[in-house]
């Protein structure tokens, strides 16, 4: 993954309540960042790969989501796919600044140059 994306991911997503974030490229490579010790990076990578499989599963049911929100008691996982197949995953605590910032991050994610 190129430096621009890594830097954006590592710094841009930091906000109060952000537990972790990650990006999965169309070639299946992943880059995750943990902002909470209970959310190890390796586990975030696994979550991200599983989220990618969810997209495939949903497609088999005729559903092509522009955004997925998994809501749990103690956290939410947002998945935002780009048309080029890149996925952005954001894990936040519910009702926090991080959760409120998802729209902004999604816009930035879409504006990232795919060739970078």
């Amino acid at each position: 993954m190129n430096d621009t994306r890594q830097e954006w991911l590592a710094t841009g997503a930091i906000a109060s309540g952000m537990l972790g974030c990650g990006m999965r490229l169309p070639d299946s490579t992943c880059q995750s960042y943990s902002f909470n010790e209970m959310w190890p990076r390796e586990h975030l990578d696994q979550v991200l790969q599983q989220l990618a499989e969810t997209m495939t599963l949903l497609a088999s049911h005729g559903l092509a989501p522009r955004r997925l929100i998994w809501t749990f008691e103690q956290g939410q996982i947002f998945l935002i796919p780009r048309p080029d197949g890149t996925l952005l995953a954001l894990a936040t605590q519910p009702n926090t600044a991080a959760a409120e910032n998802v729209d902004q991050l999604a816009e930035e994610f879409f504006s990232l140059n795919s060739s970078n």
Partner: protein, 342 residues
């Protein structure tokens, strides 16, 4: 139970005589004594005074109702007011009687209590549901096409939801009625409820499908919770919340629902509406449940509630609970995706 031990002794003798020793009567002069007796002996009926020091009769009934919901309860008091009567009946007392002033009065009470002991409730189940959501109760009533009144209260708010033949027809809390009242009640984080027999409401203030009403209530509750985050300042009490302004009235939202499926936790369809392939939707819900469980094993997330999908022209909510799964698709007419939840 009565803190007047002389009255206790007198009524015990009298009832044993009238009952020709058929009754076993255990006396307690305080609530804690009574609760201790109930721990070790199974009783058919508890008869309590109201005005007592420390724990009064209403509070005692409240505890009894929680710990021994099947136990029949009667109240005898020398100070019978309408307020106390209502409070005692609301806490589950089957009888509220004024203390007798004559042997004839005592005999009448004995007959009433004996009737109460032999009385058996009609068909149906009685019990206590713990940690149950109001939405679950309403959903259960609506799916069963029941008619009932759901009385809800906590320390800040008290209200009623009227359900007739499985349709929510009226809600009231204080001076607020209609959908706003329903959403305010369903936004209560915790409290108590009782299902009462149906009576016609003073007026009908709610139309629309119960599914869309509950979805809108969930959206309003989410927005209320978001507004109550520390950054937004101190949380207002529910009773101080303004009348809920909904961008889309539930009656209009009903027209936007494209598909609904509700099934049991094991995948048996309970309610299917405009679902092109119910089995496929059930399979999808089961996959969602498996994936949520997988995520829960990797990272600490707590219990799973729902997966929302924002599609190009619709929004889907897939909710998975231990006892049921719900799939609802609502058209959004190309609405821009945001973090707003259903």
């Amino acid at each position: 139970m009565d803190d007047d031990v002389d009255f206790l002794a007198m009524i015990q003798d009298f009832f044993v005589t009238l009952g020709e020793n058929a009754w076993q009567i255990h006396c307690a002069s305080s609530a804690d004594q009574a609760l201790e007796i109930l721990k070790i002996r199974k009783m058919d009926l508890v008869v309590s005074d109201v005005n007592m020091p420390m724990l009064d009769g209403v509070q005692f009934l409240h505890i009894l109702n929680r710990r021994h919901p099947d136990l029949k309860k009667a109240v005898i008091t020398s100070n019978a007011t309408e307020e106390k009567r209502s409070a005692c009946l609301a806490e589950g007392a089957e009888l509220f009687i004024e203390k007798p002033r004559s042997p004839e009065g005592l005999k009448s009470i004995f007959i009433m209590l004996e009737e109460l002991i032999t009385w058996t409730p009609g068909e149906g189940f009685q019990g206590v549901l713990r940690r149950v959501g109001l939405q679950d109760v309403i959903q259960m009533e609506c799916l069963g096409r029941n008619s009932s009144i759901l009385e809800i209260h906590n320390q800040q708010l008290r209200g009623r939801v009227y359900i007739e033949d499985g349709r929510i027809i009226h809600a009231q809390t204080g001076n607020t009625v209609g959908e706003s009242a329903l959403y305010n009640l369903l936004a209560i984080p915790s409290g108590e409820f009782q299902l009462q027999p149906f009576e016609p409401p003073p007026k009908r203030t709610i139309e629309g499908q119960w599914e869309s009403l509950l979805m809108e209530a969930a959206r309003v509750r989410d927005e209320t919770m978001a507004a109550q985050t520390p950054a937004a300042g101190p949380a207002p009490k529910p009773e101080l919340l303004p009348a809920v302004k909904t961008s889309t009235p539930a009656s209009d939202l009903a027209a936007c629902i494209e598909e609904t499926l509700i099934c049991s936790g094991t995948g048996d369809p309970l309610y299917v509406w405009q679902c092109p392939d119910a089995q496929a939707r059930v399979a999808l819900l089961q996959n969602v449940a498996q994936q949520a469980a997988f995520f829960g094993q990797l990272v600490p997330l707590g219990s799973f509630d729902r997966l929302e999908m924002q599609l190009a022209d619709s929004r889907v909510v897939a909710q998975v609970k231990a006892d049921r799964m719900v799939f609802v698709r609502v058209s959004t007419d190309g609405e821009k995706p945001t973090t707003r939840t259903l």
